[in-house]
């Protein structure tokens, strides 16, 4: 094998892998959006064959030989090729530590788990979800041990979603956030409350769909490359830099929920759409980590989407689509209403300030599920206890409690902390951005192009071709410092609540 042949084989391998990822992604997207309810079995049969083929492709001796050959000829590779080989070898090494039968059984389990979770949530029946959750937790704990026997299991899982993240770092981060949010929240709860009653009217779903189109337009999303679907739990699915899908969930009596879901997923979509096309069909395509991804989504959702400037531009759009409901509403009233702080039950409906407390509940529970100090059967009680402790709210049922999120049923344990971390990254990014562009003027004119371009240049274009720590440092030109985030929150909410 010559080095040129090996390089070609490397590209071919990655194109093959892309095709299976694409197929699996399409099947999952269909299942979550338009796929009929009772179609799990046939989907599972297909998924298990395709995942098996993908596994075989990654694990066959020719693949590892090729990668080892390329690694040995590292000097003859360009930077991208070297990174591709490194990532493929890492994946190979990690996967080879998990017994194949366990891996495939787990994939099959996840396919079934989604439907079980949906049904359990609909029926408010945690007992129905429990056996699946136990298997998922069990597999994740075992997987962590297989992959990183030297690490604490939960550290190994955190690392999967945000390379380099540890419980030590997460604990410190959450401690800092808690130290600022809890007193701030107390002051806000003692202050006069803002009026958001006009948001609680009925907003017909059909018109909310029109609003979604307008929001995506405001966010400069090219619809030729990005579609929106409807799912129980909103998400973004990126197939390549030119094909990204977002989803939302409409509630007739809570239009702002979907509105901010769309802007949030739109942030994810802009990231995926901004990745260098040269990375398509390689393992370096796609966003680099959940933390960086959430920094983009939550930056658009909150720091931009709930800013005075953006909301001022949102008002005429809302008044055009919902003239009756929005009659007489001023920009300032809308700004305050959309930023109302109210400890509540549902993470995705949480205000910007209390959101991190919702994450902390999940972080604490995950940590203890994986280290074995909490049993799955005790999750509802522990969930409810922590919601009372952190947010002061009573959880009336599991549907609005520990069954609300798709993550655990989807096998994602270790993902949640990245939401809070991403928010904090975003706050620091904006401060850095202000050195280069007139950020406030962009919001004031609702011209998000310069913001998207700045993020594209500093973050998006790199895809997964650099480690998350490199991308963050490249963007911030400084160490990550969560005090940007807490200062931002303190300034914003002191103003809104006149503290």
């Amino acid at each position: 094998m010559t080095i040129e042949e090996a390089k070609q084989a490397l590209q071919q391998l990655q194109v093959q892998m892309y095709a299976y990822r694409y197929a699996l992604g399409q099947i999952s997207l269909d299942a979550a959006t338009v796929g009929p309810k009772d179609t799990v079995e046939g989907r599972g049969v297909a998924l298990s064959v395709l995942a098996g083929a993908m596994y075989d492709m990654a694990m066959k001796p020719e693949t590892i030989e090729l990668l080892e050959y390329l690694k040995a000829h590292k000097d003859e590779l360009n930077e991208l090729e070297a990174k591709e080989v490194e990532e493929l070898l890492r994946d190979h090494e990690e996967t080879s530590k998990i017994p194949k039968d366990e891996y495939l059984a787990y994939r099959q389990l996840l396919n079934e788990a989604d439907a079980v979770w949906h049904q359990a949530k609909a029926d408010d029946d945690f007992a129905a979800f429990l056996p699946v959750l136990e298997k998922i937790v069990d597999f994740n704990r075992k997987m962590a041990g297989y992959i990183h026997p030297e690490k604490k299991p939960y550290d190994a899982l955190l690392d999967r979603y945000e390379r380099g993240l540890t419980m030590e770092k997460a604990d410190a981060f959450f401690a800092q956030v808690r130290a600022h949010i809890v007193p701030l929240l107390a002051k806000i709860q003692a202050a006069p409350q803002v009026d958001d009653s006009f948001l609680k009217q009925i907003f017909p779903v059909e018109k909310q769909r029109v609003l979604s189109d307008r929001l995506m337009e405001m966010q400069t999303i090219d619809r030729g490359h990005c579609a929106i679907g409807e799912t129980e739990h909103p998400f973004t699915s990126g197939f390549n830099h030119a094909d990204v899908r977002i989803t939302t969930h409409y509630y007739e009596d809570n239009f702002s929920d979907s509105m901010y879901s769309v802007i949030h997923e739109g942030g994810h979509a802009l990231y995926e759409l901004g990745i260098d096309p040269a990375l398509d069909y390689t393992v370096l395509s796609g966003g680099v980590s959940m933390g960086i991804h959430e920094s983009q989504s939550r930056l658009f959702e909150n720091i931009i989407g709930r800013s005075r400037g953006y909301v001022k531009n949102l008002l005429p759009v809302l008044q055009e689509i919902f003239p009756e409901q929005m009659e007489g509403v001023t920009a300032e009233a809308l700004y305050k209403a959309l930023n109302k702080v109210e400890p509540s039950l549902i993470r995705t409906k949480a205000d910007e300030l209390t959101y991190s407390l919702h994450i902390m509940v999940r972080y604490e529970i995950e940590k203890r599920l994986i280290d074995g100090t909490l049993e799955c059967k005790d999750v509802p009680a522990e969930w409810n206890r922590l919601y009372k402790e952190y947010l002061g709210v009573d959880v009336p049922n599991d549907r609005d409690g520990c069954l609300q999120d798709t993550h655990w049923g989807g096998g994602m344990i270790g993902y949640f902390p990245s939401y809070a971390l991403g928010s904090a990254y975003g706050a620091q990014m904006v401060e850095k951005m202000k050195e280069d562009i007139d950020y406030e003027a962009c919001l004031d004119a609702c011209d998000l192009k310069p913001i998207v371009a700045w993020l594209g240049e500093k973050i998006h274009k790199y895809g997964s071709s650099k480690d998350p720590a490199w991308i963050l440092a490249n963007c911030l030109q400084a160490d990550f410092d969560p005090s940007y985030y807490t200062r931002y929150l303190e300034a914003k909410y002191s103003d809104i609540y006149g503290l």
Copy 2:
């Protein structure tokens, strides 16, 4: 290899094939429904890898060895296994006659052709579609020669969609239909016309979506296993007996177009949903031929869906959903309006009577494209000439002319005749059905269950486990006789037009 091992390998091979068909079907469904416009490239890369993997699986030496071994041990196979081996060997033999590079290039071409056709139709620009059409016709002609060098090329293509169909049979069939429809049409055009002006009002798309749900309910379609999407050109996609999708296209100013699309595709869906679950994940799953499939769809669309009994039950549903538009409309007025005969431009909007004439235009053109007596560039002129000759209408542009259908851009040459043939099968099936169930009473009570059950028992359950000729003979207990169809049309339209 023992026979038991070989049987297991046979099932495993078919499960693998199913998974790739499932993935390709999902990707195509996405492309036609919700996939954004400018996502062709990335989809093409994935499709080409997956189609290549499928090809390799079918063509690798182990596969042919397995099939030959099983064929040699035919006596030890049950009936289904024997048929599976027969079909797999046939496919293998056919595919092995097509050079792999041509086969894969053609798959890639089809992926691109769909977008080209969509754009060309939107722009009314036949010249943009021409190069793609030429390549498709050229490949189909060559493929016919590869697969059946002993047959006339168009006969080989007809056989792909309806095994055993030849130009000789099709010519005879169309001659019989023409001999009855043309004089009947002349009499109708000389008679006083029916009033369908109330159908031409505006029917909001959102309410048409509600109607689709009601229609599927009336048709006894289980929505847990069947979803409806929206596409340029309606179609049905069956993944397995428990997962079927139909699509429609809504026009605000022509609600009955989508209404009958839904009932038509619903007929296809009932066929797929009625197949014996034991055939899932084998090559014997799915409907057996286009002719049998169209017999089901057109039976529901026209013979049932445009019957006096069904329309009587449709009226209150329409009046509930569209109270203003349907105010004061009587069942008899609706029945006549929905059966108005009017030679027109668009096949899918054609009335039941003139529909076959639209098919004849396509049949004549396809036949001549493949035998080389017509060049692709001359299709528009020939199309327009034949529409004038058969239907008496002037074609104002190619969008409403030769660019209207998805079939040729999708590579389907030889498919169209099955629509007309299916209509004729359906008419004879209903006459046979009347011996066993009170068909008119079912329509009168809008209780389609006995009809679906009868068709399920005679046709649906067999999937592709029998040849279409066997299934037709089993259902009819007689030779196919197109005079059932022409008698049905003559009786129906003589009554409506008082001839």
